[in-house]
Symmetry: D2
Subunit: 338 residues, 4 copies
């Protein structure tokens, strides 16, 4: 039995970790923390879990010893607490951005602040098993990737050798911005939008560059959806290729990956990836179209930002670390229609 704690468990990522872990017979959650909901039952905040657990939120000031800590604290806070967490558990999977970049210089550049625990960076491989499975297993820790970054990295990675330039146009659901109300999340304002934000210079570009070697130009849009990310990646090719070349490269890279599907169909409704049918699942669906006339490759990559883009990848990392079946607890296939 693996004992686990979730720090910062009242947020949306925390709720998703709880959904994934409470019904497992090989994991026991011994602590969930929330400063805002101290003493409150989990089901009061995460209504889908009502009746399924008696857990109550505790303070994060005292962390009990356990096998693995999932840390869902905000960016900038986590790095100050990490030394402590590593004393309470041999394994920590962090969901903030604090340990995703490999050097304190990069962190400083993109987050405009000094990294307070640079000596710990090397303990945290970038938490995509598809790229860093062995390292995650070896180090026993992971920094779960950014949600938009995940969609773009997994799309580009197999064809990275072909990329001249790449522009990513991402569409993102409202849950990616967290559970704190604001003017921009107010329903009358957020409903039905296609709202550009971060039109240039999005921080996830740093992760994408680090993992693929490509300086992707990312423009992000808030759209009418709660869960889900769809990234359309417009690639200027550096040489001529054919459809089957792309097929082969993606297949070769991901042939044994349980959570990556190639979606490309000549007919039917579902010819390319769509995030709608992925809600709750851990898949990243990847598709493409070759625009040969313009030497352009259009990649489509979709996932659930709270799953493959956060909690799902985190649990997948846990499975890797504990040498379990990698799909364990992540079998939910998504709903249709929904």
């Amino acid at each position: 039995m693996i004992t686990a704690a979730i720090i910062g468990a009242s947020g949306y990522t925390g709720g998703e970790l709880l959904r994934l872990l409470i019904m497992r017979d090989d994991v026991e959650i011994n602590q969930v923390t929330s400063q805002r909901f101290l003493g409150i039952q989990v089901g009061h905040v995460h209504p889908n879990l009502r009746g399924l657990t008696d857990l109550r939120f505790t303070s994060d000031e005292e962390i009990q010893e356990c096998d693995v800590i999932f840390c869902g604290l905000p960016h900038g806070t986590t790095m100050n607490r990490m030394e402590g967490f590593l004393k309470s558990a041999p394994h920590v999977i962090d969901l903030s951005a604090d340990f995703r970049l490999r050097t304190p210089e990069e962190y400083q550049k993109w987050y405009n602040t000094s990294h307070t625990s640079p000596q710990l960076l090397e303990k945290f491989p970038y938490g995509l098993p598809e790229l860093h499975r062995d390292e995650i297993k070896a180090k026993g820790c992971a920094a779960a990737p950014g949600c938009i970054a995940t969609s773009i990295i997994l799309g580009l990675y197999p064809v990275r050798e072909l990329v001249g330039k790449a522009i990513a146009d991402s569409k993102i659901g409202s849950s990616a911005a967290g559970n704190a109300p604001s003017d921009s999340s107010h329903h009358p304002e957020r409903h039905g939008v296609i709202r550009p934000y971060a039109p240039a210079g999005h921080r996830h570009q740093a992760e994408i560059l680090q993992e693929t070697g490509i300086n992707v130009m990312l423009t992000a849009h808030a759209v009418e959806m709660v869960r889900g990310i769809s990234s359309t990646i417009h690639v200027e090719l550096n040489k001529e290729v054919q459809d089957k070349d792309i097929w082969n490269m993606i297949r070769a890279t991901y042939k044994d990956e349980p959570f990556i599907r190639i979606i490309k169909s000549k007919k039917g409704l579902f010819r390319f990836p769509e995030p709608k049918i992925l809600a709750g699942s851990n898949y990243c669906d990847i598709g493409f179209e070759l625009d040969s006339e313009n030497n352009r490759l259009v990649l489509f990559s979709s996932l659930d930002n709270l799953m493959k883009g956060a909690a799902g990848s985190a649990v997948q990392c846990m499975n890797v670390i504990f040498e379990l079946e990698e799909t364990k607890g992540l079998e939910f296939p998504g709903l249709h229609p929904v």
Copy 2:
């Protein structure tokens, strides 16, 4: 030229009043107030009005003299300011609940606080021209009705003599709750809901009873929509009637009303009222079905909560008071599809 001020103009009702008034050639807006957005351009807060007006928000501490004040302050605040407003303008149209009920006792009962200006109540007829046209004209003031109440009153009024009991099941868009973000208005939580609130004892019951004489039992639900109210009113009939009796009663009551349409069709998609096509319009669409086997009449009443349920009725009252064409500035027919 009618000079007008809008007090509390940064809210959704204030924005709608602005949309209705700024393009009129017979109205000049000489003041719009907002404490939060002091000095800011109107188009910054109401993006649909960008480029159409140079107005900026001022403080409401000093009200300039004008012909008519539209007051969009919160419930409970308005009654403390009304004496002052009436010194600045001969006509005041209030959009709060403070002057809707006829007696301070009723106000106390439903709003749990004493009315601070009971002597002014008699100056404010209930602002539905369909029921109080002459009085509104005579008094020169009006208390614009509650949005849910409007839908139910206009639906029930023509058949009030037939009502044994009445239960109203209302579905309401998110704009009715105003522009202040909260946990309940946070997009990930508010999106896609059918969320019961105020299952019993809703304050609008007081207005409905006052205007129709019927103790309607109201249950309200927040639904996925920004603008719009749809009330289904289940009426236990006190005598046997036929379809044509209902038709006749509604027609007789509303035959000269420009903003009430009877919607009842045996075929096609649009057989009953629907709020979707009413966004931006001042219509209240009314339809019905007779459930003869059960001696039940099902009334359907739909409107735009910011229009017929607030700003539209207020402008209609202004037109009445100034003896203008009652439809002036309210001609927008709604969009389809949308």
Copy 3:
């Protein structure tokens, strides 16, 4: 290993049955039929199942022998085929309306056609284990209930002794109308509606009366949602009761039921049942508010129309028939936020 066939498996209910059954280690699906998609892979029609199964649709003209048949054919068709199905499998769980009513007379009255297999009616208990568990087990067959009916029956059943009159105002997602495009399901027309349909005389009233003894007056509305039903049941009480009486009655009835939760909270966002968080789950959430002043009880009942309202109940019946853990394969708790 239980062998199963799904007849009419390309519809939404068929897809949901597939989702529930393909990953079970105790069930083997040996046939899925669809006349429209003959020979096509399941994942082409149900995109959430891509990569999870190699099944292809076959004709329903030849049914292979198996342990249990799930029949998802249209109303009126099923009764003509049932003799045949019962020759191919000892257990049949029907999802049409053909075997829900206990007598051919009732069927004739509500469906305007003669029942062609009245002799089989007694083989099919109404498929709600909460009411007919023993009979379902004894007979080995079941007629899965109507989706709206399920929400109303489960809400009313515990308090049926208290009901004077009952009016149900139901709000229903678009998937309940099936997968055939029509003018009314066309996205520009269906998006954002609150569209009354079947304002009186809905066929599900027959099932509700049969199961609860109450002549519920049902008015149904199409709303903006794909999955989900929310029924608000306005009950005129035949005697005075208190909150705790209602609590006790519901608890007593459902205390051992794994798929029924009482949702009634004095604070927080989630004070009453909401279908949004139930998508994909087999729960029916029930809540209430006592309107003592008016001797009215307001019941709220929510579920996923494709799960507890169709495929979920069907699989639950299968579990009952085969004496398995009743929750097996139905453990998905729903998502939040979504």
Copy 4:
């Protein structure tokens, strides 16, 4: 008084033309045609117009003489009828694609069929007054532009001299696909999607190239929205520029245009164009962000596909042709919130 006919008036564009024209005091509609709804009242099909007009649909086989014909027939059909229309009216404004391209060769290339009336092409200037005002006036006819093309052309036109390469990533509402139900428009399938379609080779590229001289690579996505288009145009700049250069170029081009607004704000919610607030309005809102580090310009262009992208531009062309105030009948500013 201008007499007008609308051919193919039961579609969404036809309905929008009706909304814009029926309330004008200088236009009289003397014929609206629909083969499907022969003899039916307009308000039965366009529910927002109920009670506002007594017009009924007639056959398009006999066209009455009038001053201007708006032609809303399908692509490929219109060119066969145009000679006839020009005999019935001196002015024709066509909303199909048949007369948008300047040569029969281009038409053949993009529409895979021969143009049957090539001699008429020169009569139809491309119907964007912003680019072809004088020619539209001189010729008295116009070919209203494609909806996606309009958003991209108006965005790119002012900066076309700076464009090295341009990729357009467009997001489109469901009304753009017309009013015929299909599997892809079925609400359960279309709700909540971000669905790539026409990932390369979209026909509107032909219009864009013709009007801007730029070979834009367009990828279109269906998104959750009924009305509206948002195009994000990623431009590789051919020289270094600064923010104010772009400002100046757009302002210089559009300074006298009544329907083009530059939307670019450093703070507030509404920093870039969004289609949501444009429903029903004739605006095209244009904004941008300079990604100097990557020598990229990101242009945002939003409009209502049925208005500036179809019927609105058509009416604007009529106003130009008849030398009326160009904004006449097009003053609706859009709603907020909605």
